[in-house]
């Protein structure tokens, strides 16, 4: 021990047993938290796979008795549901394409160029993120009537693009920051034009991250209910259709609806889980 260390209080040694108990408690806490998230998903899944005639059985058993697709098929065949389902899929795809086409170039510019107004632009994008959907949807409903795109798929998709674009820009810029610019410069010294260098070097490296960002955009659109319910009437997306039917629909219809809306999210989050921290972590800096 060095001379100066005398004034420092001696560390209280943590024994191996302390450590083990601490570790065990962490696992216990981790498991309880995971149960809080996963148990409700399991419960809605059993609810959705219980046949309609058993929907009101009480008390229910957490171990499913009869697994049947009766309730889900009833929901999918209910009037307007399949149409609304496909509308939601198409709206989300248009949103994905538009926000990547408009957002990725901006994200690239923010990541690669030092230019006047860069910080202002970043702040403005962050601020856009803070505006409530409510305040955009209501005036847009009025504007859409003037433009003649009220109650249309493209109208909803444009609104969703406005919601998703700030994310797409911030996320794609963080993706391009992580692709070393030296590689692009090296390609240019070897005779590539800036565009060729981008297409042949940076783009392939950025592709997985860009795909994750794009898929996340798809989920944002798939999940929106407020904008869709304000902007559509006869041509609702799936969440809008379910929300307006909610009060008159039997409970098993709701269970199936909840489950059907949930499934794509579970799959998508699974595929982009590796990118979540990178995507969101950098968004805030």
């Amino acid at each position: 021990m060095t001379a100066g260390a005398r004034d420092i209080p001696m560390p209280r040694r943590r024994t191996g047993r302390d450590r083990l108990v601490g570790r065990a408690l962490t696992y216990l806490g981790a498991t309880l938290l995971a149960l809080f998230i996963l148990l409700p998903i399991y419960l809605i899944a059993i609810s959705a796979f219980t046949p309609r005639e058993n929907a009101f059985d009480f008390p229910r058993s957490v171990i499913p008795g009869e697994v049947s697709t009766d309730t889900i098929l009833f929901f999918l065949n209910a009037s307007g549901v399949i149409d609304a389902f496909w509308r939601s899929v198409v709206v989300a795809i248009i949103t994905l394409v538009l926000s990547v086409l408009i957002g990725a170039p901006a994200g690239y510019a923010v990541a690669r160029y030092g230019f006047r107004g860069r910080e202002t632009y970043r702040l403005a994008i962050l601020a856009t993120r803070a505006f409530p959907i409510v305040i955009l949807a209501i005036p847009l409903a009025v504007t859409y009537r003037v433009w003649g795109i009220d109650d249309t798929i493209i109208g909803v998709a444009l609104m969703h693009t406005a919601l998703a674009l700030p994310f797409t820009i911030l996320i794609t810029s963080s993706v391009f920051v992580s692709v070393p610019r030296e590689l692009e410069e090296a390609a240019q010294t070897l005779g590539c034009s800036p565009l060729e260098a981008f297409v042949r070097v940076s783009l392939p490296l950025a592709l997985p991250g860009l795909a994750a960002a794009a898929i996340f955009t798809w989920v944002l659109s798939w999940n929106d209910v407020f904008a869709a319910v304000i902007l559509t009437l006869r041509n609702p997306t799936l969440p809008a259709k379910i929300l307006t039917a909610l009060t008159q629909s039997p409970i098993y219809y709701q269970f199936a609806a909840g489950f059907v809306m949930l499934v794509p999210s579970l799959v998508v989050i699974f595929f982009i889980r590796r990118y979540l921290l990178g995507l969101w972590g950098r968004v805030i800096k």
Partner: protein, 284 residues
């Protein structure tokens, strides 16, 4: 290269700026213009006054603010616990993260319905309570006559749905804390709690601030979870905006509600920036 392509970044930004001006900035301005008009086109505060004197206005404002005040602390305790678990690097770290991040992709409406299956009279909560013998007949949780229980149900559903985003922001913040700081605390024999209080929380302040602002803004817009769980039993501001825009077909009062939500979001943001200054702001 930068000099030669000086226009390039601006050209790349142009589509996004044009789109956001058209689809975000313009409607924002229009929202205020709408709120300061009446359906017959006369200008003034009549629509705002109509909102303020509406029978449901006070309930909607009260419930929304109550939900924000109740949900946010619950979410932060949960998110912090999850973030510390992730940071403890247990076995199967990726799977823990996936479990905690799952709700990130789940919509308000789906989350509301998930919890309906639990709280409904013949639902999972009553089944489980009966199963372990705590109650002998089902309890009605979702009743307009007991608004506080309804609010409690919504708080639980919102805590379940929207904690992930805070967790992700906090995990990113935790990972940026240099490990030397925690090792130093270890050397001096700091307990886990002391480490959290004295090292982690102060270092996490900027992340906490961002998460708090983002989550509060979103909490003021609570909508589908409330409709799914409480039906007409609870009024919230976003639902009033929706009701005026669709059922009543008065975009002006709807815009007044939207404007109110924006004002509440801005006020809370400023409040958090003032009350929770990060280190640099503190010194400046």
């Amino acid at each position: 290269m930068t000099a030669r392509l000086g226009w390039a970044p601006y050209a790349l930004l142009l589509p996004s700026v044009a789109f956001l001006v058209l689809m975000v900035a313009t409607p924002m301005g229009q929202a205020f213009a709408l709120a300061l008009q009446t359906p017959d086109g006369s200008v003034g505060t009549a629509s705002v006054e109509r909102m303020l004197s509406d029978t449901r206005f006070r309930d909607a404002l009260f419930t929304t603010v109550a939900l924000v005040i109740l949900v946010i602390p619950v979410q932060f305790v949960l998110a912090m616990s999850m973030a510390l678990v992730i940071n403890a690097r247990l076995r199967g770290q990726g799977l823990w993260l996936y479990a905690y991040a799952l709700p990130l992709g789940i919509s308000e409406l789906a989350a509301g319905i998930v919890w309906v299956s639990i709280f409904t009279q013949s639902g999972w909560l009553n089944s489980i309570l009966m199963g372990i013998g705590i109650i002998d007949r089902p309890i009605t949780w979702q009743s307009a006559e007991t608004p506080w229980i309804l609010i409690g149900c919504v708080v639980i559903a919102e805590a379940w749905r929207a904690t992930s985003i805070i967790m992700i922001i906090l995990v990113a913040g935790l990972q940026s804390i240099p490990s030397e700081y925690l090792e130093a605390a270890d050397v001096y024999g700091a307990s886990t709690w002391q480490k959290i209080r004295r090292v982690v929380l102060p270092m996490l302040r900027p992340s906490l601030q961002v998460a708090l602002i983002l989550r509060t803004i979103l909490a003021f817009q609570v909508f589908a979870t409330v409709i799914a769980i409480a039906g007409t039993g609870l009024d919230v501001l976003a639902d009033e905006a929706h009701r005026w825009a669709t059922d009543i077909d008065n975009d002006n009062v709807a815009a007044a509600y939207a404007g109110l939500i924006l004002v509440l979001s801005l006020v809370s943001t400023v409040l958090f920036l003032v009350l929770l200054p990060t280190r640099e702001e503190h010194q400046a």
